[in-house]
């Protein structure tokens, strides 16, 4: 602004040029630093992916390959069908089974959380009934009670209900969701009153309104939430560790660390690395392919 108030001098032009040069230089530095950051972040993945294509003795000797080897197909086939094991444990679990269990768990948790939260948020927003706020606060307070702070008594409940070693046991206790309920409540409050009035005039009941108006309007929110909750479900660790001892129900994140055991040098590291790649592929793909919804879901659930 200051430049407009007086005549442009040679000095100003020189200054502007210097500024432009400085900005260009600082942009190049920014690009270089970012590229370095990207490389540093990707490096552990690179080592793992490359390692998963070598034979077991190459890695066991500590030759840490930096480029692909020729055993990739063989390693992935044996990880998929047979599974690797750490030295001290017997009975490997094939990766396909662990991935299948993780997929079931993640999808069921995500769908369950969304369904349950849609219904509760709908009840809290579109109805007036005694105890409405009490219900809302009861749901809200669960935010403050993660599994970790009620671990033993929750385990006892699971034992009493016979839910140990079952898919239902893996999923059901995790489908309550304060975050999702808060998000849908927030969104429902923005639906104009006129829509409800119109529905009433047309003689549509609350369930009809939910199905024909509220659900279609919520599609983007549901998609965004699904991405976040799928990752949440896939990455569960303490809960499956606690209630699953049956190998048929092993999930891939927990199963993967069991393969490592105490980290013995004689482990089948190549198979373990292949399994690690398989374990992180689904959630990483979900984030990259659904980036728009992912970022939306992430920023909205924090409001």
């Amino acid at each position: 602004m200051r430049m407009l108030m007086r005549d442009t001098t040679m000095e100003d032009i020189a200054l502007a040029r210097a500024t432009a040069r400085r900005q260009a230089r600082s942009r190049w530095i920014a690009h270089a630093l970012l590229a370095l950051g990207v490389l540093i972040f990707a490096f552990p993945i690179w080592i793992t992916v490359v390692g998963s294509t070598h034979d077991v003795s190459t890695i066991g000797r500590g030759e840490v390959p930096l480029w692909f080897g020729g055993e990739g197909v063989a390693n992935y086939v044996s990880a998929w069908l047979r599974g690797g094991s750490s030295l001290r444990t017997t009975g490997a679990v094939p990766a396909w089974l662990m991935l299948w269990n993780s997929l079931n768990m993640a999808v069921l948790i995500a769908v369950g959380k969304i369904a349950i939260s849609l219904l509760s948020a709908y009840a809290v927003v579109f109805f007036a009934f005694p105890g409405r706020m009490v219900c809302f606060w009861l749901i809200f307070i669960t935010l403050m009670l993660p599994v970790e702070v009620r671990i033993i008594p929750t385990f006892e409940v699971m034992v009493n209900l016979g839910l140990i070693n079952s898919m239902a046991g893996l999923v059901v206790p995790l489908v309550a969701s304060a975050t999702a309920t808060l998000l849908f409540r927030q969104f429902f409050l923005t639906i104009p009153d006129e829509y409800v009035e119109a529905a009433k005039i047309d003689g549509a009941g609350p369930l009809r309104f939910f199905k024909d108006v509220v659900l279609p309007l919520s599609v983007t929110n549901i998609a965004a939430l699904f991405v976040i909750l799928f990752i949440y479900g896939w990455n569960q660790y303490l809960w499956p560790l606690l209630i699953v001892s049956d190998k048929d129900l092993e999930t891939v994140v927990v199963g993967m660390t069991k393969m490592i055991g105490t980290g013995d040098q004689q482990n089948e590291w190549n198979i373990i690395m292949a399994t690690a790649v398989l374990a992180m592929l689904p959630p990483v793909l979900v984030v990259i392919l659904m980036q728009r919804w992912f970022v939306k879901g992430l920023t909205e659930t924090e409001k």
């Binding site: 066991g60 219900c135 009620r150 008594p153 309104f209 990455n235 660390t257 992180m280």
Partner: protein, 293 residues
């Protein structure tokens, strides 16, 4: 806040709320109540009877050097994870905000670690720092620095901090970048025209504008470091060597699940509950204020 136009009916809304309320009742409130109740009880040596002991469980764990060690581990671990994850993320976000052209590309390349489970992140770093098969582990040993995180407590702590922070950077990066991009360009240009150099501009103009985001992220990062890093520690060090990476969460698990020490575990749960409640309260109080901005 409520709607003016609503549906009539009492039975239906209760029915809609029922699934959520049943699950929270059975799996959240009942166990939480049991934990609080149990923290005042003690089991005899054979696990046959439980008697009321008042605050003795609390007094015992607070006097237990192992517990105090877990407290100090948690403080070191959580602050190191939070500050390094925030620092690196802020640095990268500032660069990405400058490199306007490629910001979206870098965003894609930096956010995927969010999707990786804490335990898997730990395993990836194990592949690098394993003393016999890891690139860095072997390198360090090769140049004469004895490196074995399975024997050296300080090295073990460093490992879990790196693995935990690495994963959290992407989350912070997304929020910092969004925060930076929401700062009006005119504010920055004004500062530039007034002759403020880039570094000065950052600390006097940009950083204060980012303060609400940073504070919010600090709380989120602390919650993450306290509660979501069980997998990192379990996969990498099992709380060891000795108890050098045993944090409060890890200790609750060990005492309750492995040592079956009912009263001590319940008392620890109650302390952690108070901690989560405090952190959640801070988080929501702050968000309410952000709304009024």
């Amino acid at each position: 806040m409520r709607k003016k136009v609503i549906f009539k009916g009492v039975a239906l809304p209760y029915l809609l709320l029922l699934p959520q309320l049943i699950i929270t009742g059975i799996f959240f409130f009942w166990p939480a109540g049991q934990a609080i109740y149990g923290s005042f009880l003690r089991e005899d040596a054979f696990g046959l009877s439980r008697e009321f002991v008042g605050f003795e469980n609390f007094a015992d764990i607070l006097a237990d050097p192992n517990y105090l060690n877990a407290v100090s581990n948690t403080v070191i671990f959580s602050s190191a994870v939070a500050f390094s994850a925030l620092g690196v993320a802020l640095f990268l976000a500032v660069q990405a905000d400058k490199a306007i052209r490629g910001a979206d590309f870098y965003k894609t390349m930096l956010i995927w670690p969010y999707a990786i489970a804490p335990a898997i992140a730990a395993v990836l770093w194990l592949f690098l720092f394993h003393p016999q098969i890891g690139l860095f582990g072997r390198f360090l040993n090769g140049i004469g620095i004895p490196w074995d995180y399975k024997l050296n407590g300080g090295q073990a702590m460093l490992m879990v901090i790196i693995a935990a922070a690495w994963k959290q950077v992407s989350y912070n990066f997304i929020f910092f970048l969004a925060g930076l991009q929401s700062i009006p360009r005119s504010v920055l240009e004004a500062a530039a025209i007034d002759g403020a150099r880039p570094a000065r501009r950052f600390w006097t103009v940009i950083f204060p504008l980012l303060a609400p985001t940073s504070f919010f992220l600090l709380v989120v990062n602390l919650v993450y470091a306290f509660f979501d890093t069980f997998g990192t520690i379990h996969a990498l060090t099992r709380g060891g060597p000795g108890q050098s990476t045993t944090t409060l969460i890890y200790k609750v698990y060990v005492d309750g699940v492995e040592n079956l020490n009912f009263g001590a575990s319940a008392a620890q749960s109650v302390i952690l509950m108070a901690l989560v409640i405090a952190l959640t309260a801070i988080q929501f109080r702050f968000i309410e204020r952000k709304v009024h901005y």
